[in-house]
Symmetry: C2
Subunit: 401 residues, 2 copies
């Protein structure tokens, strides 16, 4: 008998019909002789509705009270899903974050799981109950309710799977797995049977919005076998695990990320400490920087460019404008008409020529590259936004993934 | 510095404007130098909406899961009210039932408070925080969420006031106190300054829907000073306490209860054990019986009539039909075209002639009495439904309350 953790997102439990669909998936898993812990998010738009209620009263509400409010969303889901399972005749119990023993730190709104107190979970599983646990939430050491922030339910599922030494952690979504490229952009993109944690991390951070990075990191750390699969179709999804077969495949997938803004500081003095001043100021404002590019110095000056998420654009520009005089910069330019296209694959580090093949594909498609960034298992290029779809198709074709 | 518990019902927190109104009442109480614990119900129709969601999925859902679902209603209210208080600049914290240490028995859906674990409450009050506690909910010994059933938030407020030895427990409603009669029926009904626990209990059970009986019983048991007052107007309400001044006033108020059905079992044998069989069968089905009337035996038979809430009508009739043959009854009749009108007052037991004065008022108004029931501080009559308003006015006038 295996122990399986199954996570269902908000769209999977959006209405009564979908809740019963989820209940049947859980029930079938239980009938096959497994113990099941299901983790659920808030229904469809519930969280947005609750945020709107709070906004109306106090846009500056404390994060503590926001967590009290938002955590009701998952509490509604777990009770409704438990009622559906009861209707189908299964023994089950819903558990809120605190009832499931999910202990977090005190960073309201984006807490991290510190520990799972397994006592009740193991006790209820021992009685043969299916457990329906509220994702996204926990409590801190003061017994205050906390929430885990974006992708929190994925993290809850992986944390529970790790704590309970589950045999598998299945993440059900509205896609049926991880693809070599976005099927909406590349018609002959195909589903990967398996992918490594590292590759998944790169793919996730590159905009293949299937799994949140924190949950993949945690799965890797505790060696939790993940599977991404569809809640609507009953077929195998993509396995995410430590070691995957590389075969002759050079790259695992092509990803696109349009949430990119490039900021360039042009004509700063080519002296030590310039980069430090720029990036320490951004770090102090908690702005994550992705690609960094520094031109070769010429005439005593150099240019520094970097990319950030669009949501930080105004804040970052304000910081740069303030630094402009101190750095004696010629100009600060911003461009959000850009997209980042990347290839990912553990195979590429032992296969020379991967980068040149990617650049060749782009050149053949007459697409200009603005910036290049590489890691051991990833090559990213910054290109014009309106050429990003063509770029993904061209690269996918070139590598025949 | 006094400690005041204030309870606000669902209509008092139905929207943002009303939530701020409540926040200002709480804030003013705090500013006057008091410690404040506010107890709130779910907003307006929230509970009904949640029940509808559950009905759609499983009309036979377990009470355990219903409690998980319904308790989110108050959790939403407490966070929104806390946000409003934050906006007004007050230090405050919302607490769910379990965070406030409300421990109950395990009767899901209608639990009774067993104990309040005061540790956190006293700790937070000691820090100068206003506490906003979710009414209607608690947890049982297994850490499962429970709800207290109808009028549960009143009970929560009184239980917290008792545990914390509060100086006052204020129940805010949409009326400004307890009246000598329903002001909508009797234009010159007037507000009572004070009323005893016993009188309040009789008034409440007679349809003066201000306070739930369980909360009044608990207030009496633990000697909690209650006050019923309006959340919309800032003026004194009605004090409910142990001993009240009786003055020359004979009766405290006139109440009407239209939620009445009379069932009559006609022509049963005038032998011992008949009443036992009827009322034990009703008790076994957990049907509360109010007035019981047995005719004097004649020709070896007698008639037994009793009143119950309309919601039990069909169930009770089924039981009576089943008993009919066994009891050899001539007929079982039901009438829900009736109303119960009552007068309540501690003074009446030492003042002869109260009953006759009531009957005189009804006779003068040409209103026929079907049944009469009396207690130490109450006289009730069952009359035709369409005469109930005239009856209340006539009695109110006769006693010049």
């Amino acid at each position: 008998m295996a122990l399986i953790v199954q996570k269902f997102g908000g769209s999977s439990v959006a209405d009564a019909e979908r809740i019963f669909n989820v209940a049947r998936i859980i029930g079938d898993t239980y009938d096959a002789g497994n113990s099941v812990v299901a983790v659920v998010s808030a229904q469809g738009d519930t969280t947005d509705d609750l945020i709107a209620k709070a906004q109306e009263i106090n846009p500056g509400a404390s994060k503590r009270e926001m967590d009290v409010l938002l955590s009701t969303g998952e509490q509604i889901s777990i009770s409704l899903l438990a009622m559906a399972l009861e209707k189908l005749g299964y023994p089950c119990k819903s558990l809120t974050g605190w009832q499931a023993g999910v202990l977090t730190d005190s960073t309201h709104g984006s807490s991290r799981v510190r520990r799972i107190n397994k006592e009740r979970l193991e006790n209820e599983l021992g009685k043969g109950n299916i457990l329906i646990v509220a994702g996204f939430q926990g409590i801190n050491r003061y017994d205050d309710i906390t929430t885990l922030g974006r992708g929190g339910s994925d993290t809850s599922a992986v944390a529970l799977a790790a704590a309970l030494h589950a045999d598998n952690c299945q993440i059900f979504t509205d896609v049926d797995g991880v693809y070599t490229a976005d099927p909406r952009l590349v018609p002959n993109a195909h589903k990967l049977e398996e992918v490594s944690y590292d590759e998944m991390l790169e793919l996730a951070s590159l905009g293949a919005q299937v799994l949140h990075n924190r949950s993949v990191e945690m799965a890797q750390k505790y060696n939790v076998k993940l599977e991404v699969l569809s809640s609507l179709e009953r077929k195998p999804g993509t396995q995410i695990k430590e070691v995957v077969q590389v075969e002759k495949m050079l790259i695992r997938g092509v990803a696109r990320d349009n949430d990119v803004t490039r900021i360039s500081i042009i004509g700063v003095a080519d002296t030590p400490g310039v980069a430090f001043r720029i990036f320490s100021a951004l770090a102090a404002a908690k702005i994550n920087v992705d690609i960094i590019l520094q031109s070769v110095g010429r005439d005593g000056t150099k240019d520094i460019s970097f990319t950030i998420s669009r949501s930080y654009k105004h804040e970052a520009m304000e910081i740069m404008e303030n630094l402009k005089t101190a750095l004696n910069a010629h100009e600060v330019a911003v461009d959000d008409n850009v997209s980042k296209v990347s290839i990912v694959g553990s195979g590429m580090q032992t296969n020379p020529g991967v980068a040149s093949k990617m650049f060749e594909a782009l050149a053949d498609a007459n697409i200009n590259i603005h910036m290049i960034s590489t890691s051991e298992i990833k090559i990213s290029v910054l290109i014009d936004l309106d050429e990003s779809q063509r770029a993904v198709v061209a690269i996918h074709e070139a590598f025949e993934v």
